[in-house]
Amino acid sequence: MVIYGVALLAACLLIGKAVGELIGMAIGVHSDVGGVGIAMLMLVFLVYRLQEAGCLDMTSRRGVEFWSSLYIPIVVAMAASQNVVGAVTGGPLAIVGGLVVVGVSFALVPVIARLGRGKYAEPLPPIEDDETREANSHA
């Protein structure tokens, strides 16, 4: 059933966020610490186990895949509801400061990524078009 996949996903997110809140509380932060990251690790682990046990059929998988494929449209909606005016009118310090930080951070990405270079830094195979990409991302 498709709902099994959706429910699995929902359970992972809720538990992840709850654990994130608890970590935040433990270290005295009024914020969720890594809730989504924990949820993702849980999903990866659970899917792996369930597949090994043969408990995850095609239709259940489809419930997770559907939400995964809605990811880009959701990001577009997110972009359309950002406070862009606030960023643009923040004055020179906001714009210069933001851009300098982004520029330096970009420059550092290859430096750190190189630390773990080897066969694990292989580029992903090219993608043909949208449809195959969506199919591949769940392979």
């Binding site: 997770v64 310090l93 930080v101 982004v102 750190i112 990524a113 992903l124 990409r133 991302s137």
Partner: protein, 254 residues
């Protein structure tokens, strides 16, 4: 009559948002295919178009949520809000390769700490260069250069005024939006084409929306790796900003 139809769209906000975003993606994929010969990815154009619409929405309503402040498009805020965004981000983990994660995990942690240290320091230095010498101001602005959530959380914890908090949010917004736009353009230049680099990228940038948008426009398969480290960033930033960072700044500026 027009009012009744308007009511249908506004009353079914989320559904309207699905239809509008679908249409927007259709147009943007068309532009990508025929105007840029596929060189610029359709999702990159769609995200940029979303930001542009958000700008006009903000100008039109004077609100803080871009297009979502217009009643007709209020569902955009729900569709692009943190609830559905986090749900979809977690779903992308379905395609994650556990081995990739294990091998690149330590790089992600290094990136996370450096990713917090660099904006704190640079942001603080920029603030000082622009004439802010008060430790509270320097800390708040530096924290804003981490993300637009770390900035206000840090600022209110150490007693910054609302003008400083607004400024720290503005820096964070500039960061987030420029990451969304610049990432697909420079991805090749910084070898952002593998899971290991994406993990580092997420920890380095930290802005979940910027990383999510930037990677989605670059290669959607990289999203889960980048998003995973980015989601730890804000929490640790909120922890380190008002404590370690503030203490260091206060020590330096007396």
């Amino acid at each position: 009559m027009l009012e009744r139809i308007h009511h249908v769209f506004a009353g079914n906000g989320l559904i309207t948002a699905f239809a509008v975003v679908g249409l927007l993606m259709l147009v943007c994929n068309f532009i990508s295919k025929y105007l840029t010969a596929g060189r610029v990815h359709g999702s990159a154009i769609a995200i940029a178009a979303g930001l542009l619409l958000s700008y006009f929405g903000g100008i039109y309503t004077g609100g803080k949520h871009g297009l979502a402040d217009i009643a007709l498009f209020s569902g955009m805020g729900l569709m692009g809000g943190s609830m559905l965004r986090d749900f979809a981000i977690v779903a992308t983990a379905f395609g994650v390769d556990v081995n990739e994660l294990r091998k690149a995990g330590s790089n992600g942690v290094i990136a996370l700490f450096l990713g917090l240290f660099v904006p704190f320091t640079l942001g603080g230095m920029m603030a000082y260069a622009f004439g802010y010498t008060d430790p509270v101001a320097v800390t708040t602005i530096g924290a804003g250069a981490a993300t637009y959530i770390v900035g206000p959380v840090t600022g209110s914890a150490i007693g910054a005024g609302s003008d400083l908090i607004a400024l720290s949010i503005a820096i964070g917004l500039v960061k987030s939006i420029s990451v969304m736009i610049i990432t697909p353009a420079v991805a090749r230049l910084i070898s952002l084409n593998n899971p290991s680099a994406a993990l580092v990228f997420g920890g380095m940038m930290g802005t979940t929306s910027g990383v999510a948008g930037g990677l989605a426009a670059t290669d959607a398969r990289l999203v889960p790796y980048g998003a995973m480290t980015a989601t730890f960033y804000t929490g640790f930033g909120c922890l380190l900003g008002p404590s370690v960072f503030y203490l260091v700044v206060r020590m330096l500026l007396g």
